[in-house]
């Protein structure tokens, strides 16, 4: 393992110091691991708080800013944040209109955010939570912890963030956040495993001829190991899996997301195929994102996330946003 770090224990704190130095629009508490929009809470605006393990950059701290998150709580690498962080972030952004927690569906995230929400309630901060669980690779939710939250998190945070910025009440912001999640599905493929700084070696081994299909974003192996194929076929597997779960039609918002170690040129190759697969199924990629948004350290691979748009969602997607990783309209 070779990483551009100062030691496994220092990665998260150091990266937060870098984030603070690079983005004066963020207030970063590197010690307590809280990233908040500078300027303090806006009275009457619903606060949006998310968080999760580190190693998925730019998620979540890279989405803190105008029109998206008010605060992010990064945990250790692949480890959900602790309740204290979430409570502190929630009170910091509370402008009197309540706080929405955007929680990816992992046992750790769910439990820590749940404890935090209870503590927030004790402190008089009204909290609503939305659970993101878009990953169709996880089936049989009776026998699993349920679907993982992956790429749709970006859509939920952007769209709910736009509505919160427009001054909508907590219930409305929560409603649209849930709607985005309900209308979104993801599927991921790994060409190589990632290496956590603590483990120091890849979480699994893949030969030159193999891929993992249906991976999550924590370096865990996927549902199945399969033979390596070209971009057209691999994206076809992803779109098929999504389409089978949620038939695709009409205008969609689509993200081709890199897992951290895949260069942009390959993501554009993949996007060309995804757009084609969507068209074949009668859907139209009305809006798109191509790049590294929800990563898994240095993993090579990609995920596809599709959201079936409504006019409202499209309008909120197009609304101005100003964060380190997503910016338009201002």
């Amino acid at each position: 393992m070779k990483k551009l770090i100062n030691g496994a224990d220092a990665v998260v704190t150091d990266a937060l110091r870098g984030l603070a130095a690079a983005h004066p629009g963020l207030r970063v508490d590197a010690g307590n691991r809280i990233v908040v929009r500078a300027g303090g809470p806006r009275p009457g605006k619903v606060g949006l708080v998310s968080g999760g393990g580190s190693g998925h950059e730019p998620l979540h701290a890279g989405f803190v800013g105008y029109g998206m998150l008010d605060a992010a709580c990064p945990g250790e690498i692949f480890t959900s944040p602790v309740p204290d962080q979430v409570v502190e972030a929630s009170t910091a952004v509370h402008g009197g209109a309540g706080v929405l927690h955007v929680v990816k569906n992992y046992t750790g995230d769910v439990l820590n955010f749940r404890m935090a929400a209870e503590l927030c309630a004790e402190e008089g901060v009204e909290v609503a939570s939305v659970l993101v669980d878009d990953d169709v690779a996880v089936r049989d939710s009776l026998y699993t912890a349920g679907r993982r939250g992956t790429g749709a998190t970006v859509f939920v945070e952007k769209i709910a963030g736009a509505l919160a910025e427009a001054g909508a009440p907590l219930a409305e912001v929560a409603r649209v956040a849930r709607e985005v999640n309900d209308r979104s599905r993801s599927f991921g493929v790994a060409l190589s495993a990632c290496t956590t700084p603590a483990a120091g070696k890849p979480t699994f081994e893949l030969s030159e001829a193999e891929v993992e299909l249906g991976i999550g974003i924590h370096g865990e192996p996927g549902r199945t190991r399969d033979t390596m194929r070209d971009a057209r076929e691999l994206t076809g597997v992803a779109i098929d899996a999504i389409h089978e779960d949620m038939p695709l039609s009409g205008d969609v918002l689509v993200m081709v997301n890199g897992m951290g170690g895949t260069p942009l040129i390959e993501l554009y190759v993949a996007y060309a195929e995804v757009a084609g697969h969507l068209a074949d199924r009668g859907a139209r990629a009305a809006r798109s994102l191509v790049g590294n948004y929800v990563t898994s350290l240095d993993m090579q691979g990609f995920s596809v996330t599709v959201c079936r748009l409504t006019d409202e969602l499209t309008r909120l997607w197009d609304a101005p946003v100003e964060t380190p990783a997503l910016r338009w309209g201002r």
Binding site: G53, P81, V82, G108, Y143, A145, A198, T203, H218, E220
Partner: protein, 218 residues
Amino acid sequence: MGAEVGAEVLTPAFFGAWIEEAARSVRAERDELTRLDAAIGDADHGTNLDRGFTEAVRALGERCPATPGAVLVLVGSTLIRKVGGASGPLYGTAFREAGKALGDAPAVSAADLAAALTAGVAGVRRLGSAAEGDKTMVDALAPAAGALAEAVREGRGLDDALGAASAAAAAGAAATIPMPARKGRASYLGPRSVGHQDPGATSAALILRALHTVAARW
């Protein structure tokens, strides 16, 4: 050695020694726990627990709680505040519930400890809604609580009783190997989780073994 089962010989110092021994043991097995978690999870269980128990030892050193119950509640709260992930709230709740079960007695008996462990396991079950056989820490904790309660009922000595609990936890952890996971991250792997020992069950067995180690020299 071998205090009477009914005797209230377990002081705050005993519980502090337990947590120190657990921290030592988790530190020693950190990389192995992480390796197990890499196979069916996300490769952080060793660092998570190492961080948490290190902080717990530090917190006990700073605050020196006066009762066994307060020791365990502080340990649980510290784990919740420092670990994160699934294991933070779960172990944190286990220790907090166990501590609450001990009330504010200045020293407790093996029977009290058995009841506390049972309360702790119940807390984990409630929070994580995992049943035995789901391939989680419950598969080590529940048999351990059962074995301890049984040994206490049978009137066996502390060392002996905790030896039984530790052995049950180890056996429970080993028994997770052939199970397909139904809770936590490993469940995403479905049948591919078979053949690997659950990291949380493994750490639970370590923590129970630490309890026995400390009891044996108490």
